[in-house]
């Protein structure tokens, strides 16, 4: 039996736009909050992993230098949208292996404004117009509409739901609810996706203190990290998050999300039917619905019906993105996965006030993006 990994403390810098506040400032605030909650001080953790994609060289070192807490290994981890999930996987694995007792995991990011420019693409792909990230989201959305009976009204309803949830989250970027006709009335970015169906790349930080057997326990109800899994893509799917230039006509290649979810459920000894609350990748509204199917929250082709049932709204059977999701919070790549974990730890402790999910004791978070990288985390109380 390997060491049980527990979450001893969590902390956030809100997600949004903060002119004059640096990546280091935001990271330091989130880390300080998490360490304070865990009762961990200088020398109380033996390693640190920092998720960041646009932070630049030694982002993690700069944050911990600011706090006067260096000397231990500090490793920056880049795995696109799943960077924080990758950092969490490395930390949990090291604790289970007995390498460390307590590990600090954090993510911090200031994203450029507008359509994300990614060094992932070659210059000729940008020149040819084949590097517009929302166009890949749109093609994926269109296929979901063909395969699952999803309509533009469904896409709008995902935004309405998540913005309603986000209105109750002080760490979110948008605190205003939105109506379906406003979503459908916003400009078309890439058909079928309108502006308000896409999340905003932005800024923020999140931190989590993980500990094994002998470490601190943190406040309130203890939360266990039951699984932290990262997977990359298998080749074949032309619309994979790995954004290849071609793929096969074989539609049976499992997605990186499905690979990660399957492994995470196995690691946790749980299944989709055991979940009480989920935070999933909603970079665009269709991505949330696709995540329902890829995570096994519904059968293939069943995402529109699951949304229509109301089960995934707060008050429903399995609320998805009670934090408001990326559609309300925005997406700072290195911090977004850990932002989900912070939300779910607070949900499992019962600390979420008006957006609290009733009797939540099993939670799952999911991020997927460029690479491809998919991260799935299972938490239990």
């Amino acid at each position: 039996m390997s060491t049980r990994v527990r979450v001893a403390g969590v902390g956030m810098h809100p997600f949004g736009r903060f002119d004059g506040v640096s990546t280091t400032d935001m990271g330091a605030r989130a880390v300080s909050a998490a360490l304070r909650e865990a009762g961990v001080t200088r020398g109380g953790f033996q390693a640190a992993f920092c998720g960041t994609a646009y932070g630049g060289v030694a982002t993690g070192h700069k944050v911990l230098s600011r706090l006067g807490m260096t000397g231990m290994p500090i490793v920056d981890v880049e795995a696109g949208c799943a960077s924080g999930g990758a950092a969490l996987m490395l930390a949990a694995g090291a604790i289970r292996a007995g390498q460390y007792d307590t590990v600090l995991v954090f993510g911090t990011e200031k994203m450029p404004k507008g359509i994300i420019r990614s060094s992932f693409f070659e210059p000729w792909q940008e020149e040819a117009g084949l590097a517009a990230t929302p166009s890949f989201f749109a093609l994926r959305a269109q296929r979901l509409m063909v395969n699952s009976g999803v309509t533009k009204e469904h896409l709008a309803q995902v935004v309405v739901k998540n913005r309603r949830h986000g209105a109750a989250n002080p760490d979110a970027m948008f605190h205003k609810e939105i109506a379906a006709d406003e979503v459908l009335g916003s400009r078309v970015v890439c058909e079928p996706l309108h502006l308000f169906m896409l999340c905003s790349p932005n800024e923020g930080a999140a931190a989590v203190v993980l500990t094994g057997g002998g470490g601190p326990t943190g406040p309130g109800r203890p939360v266990t990290l039951a699984a932290a899994v990262l997977r990359s893509h298998l080749p074949g799917a032309v619309l994979s998050e790995s954004t290849p230039l071609s793929g096969l006509t074989d539609d049976t290649v499992p997605s990186p999300t499905t690979l990660a979810a399957t492994a995470a459920f196995e690691e946790a000894g749980l299944g989709p039917g055991d979940l009480h609350v989920v935070e999933c990748q909603d970079t665009d509204a269709a991505r949330e619905l696709l995540s329902y199917e890829e995570l096994g929250l519904c059968p293939a082709g069943g995402s529109a019906a699951l949304l229509d049932s109301g089960d995934t709204a707060l008050g429903g059977r399995l609320p998805v993105n009670p934090s408001g999701g990326l559609l309300s919070k925005g997406e700072p790549l290195g911090a977004s996965a850990l932002g989900q974990v912070v939300e779910l730890v607070r949900q499992l402790r019962g600390d979420c006030g008006p957006r609290q999910v009733d009797r939540a004791s099993v939670a799952l978070s999911h991020t997927v993006g460029r690479g491809a990288n998919a991260g799935v985390v299972v938490l239990t109380a």
Partner: protein
């Protein structure tokens, strides 16, 4: 001054009257690749054979980009989509049609070469695209 026509990247396609995409075929698993690879991305076998891909296929997914993305100097809006070729491969491509309402699933498509922009040296930069097939 004569305008020189240049492809956006060497080795992707043949220019001219009947353009073709330059792919490859794995001798071990039979999968087709685009762009051309020496090593098969599906089974890791070495020595894939160069092969020109079919110039005709059917439309599988499509959209239009309405605002210029970073690094792009051409006109907007422009079409982007996925075309399925008879040899069992789906290719991401620019489309000649930028109004999504004019396209439909399964529509026959044909490879063509379209201008992107004139570069700083005065060259006309062209790329591959798929257009609705004439017949």
């Amino acid at each position: 001054m004569t305008v020189v026509r240049t492809t956006v990247r060497e080795g992707l396609f043949t220019d001219g009257e009947s353009p073709r995409l330059l792919g490859s075929r794995c001798g071990a698993c039979g999968a087709r690749h685009f762009p051309r690879h020496q090593t098969c991305p599906y089974c890791a076998a070495e020595g894939a054979e160069p092969e020109e891909l079919s110039a005709r296929g059917t439309l599988w997914a499509w959209t239009a980009v309405t605002a210029a993305p970073p690094g792009y100097r051409g006109e907007t809006p422009f079409g982007v989509g996925v075309v399925e070729l008879p040899e069992g491969i789906r290719v991401i491509s620019r489309l000649s049609v930028s109004d999504p309402a004019l396209l439909s699933a399964g529509q026959p498509m044909e490879l063509c070469v379209v201008p992107l922009h004139v570069d700083d040296d005065g060259n006309e930069v062209v790329t591959y695209a798929f257009a609705p097939a004439a017949s």
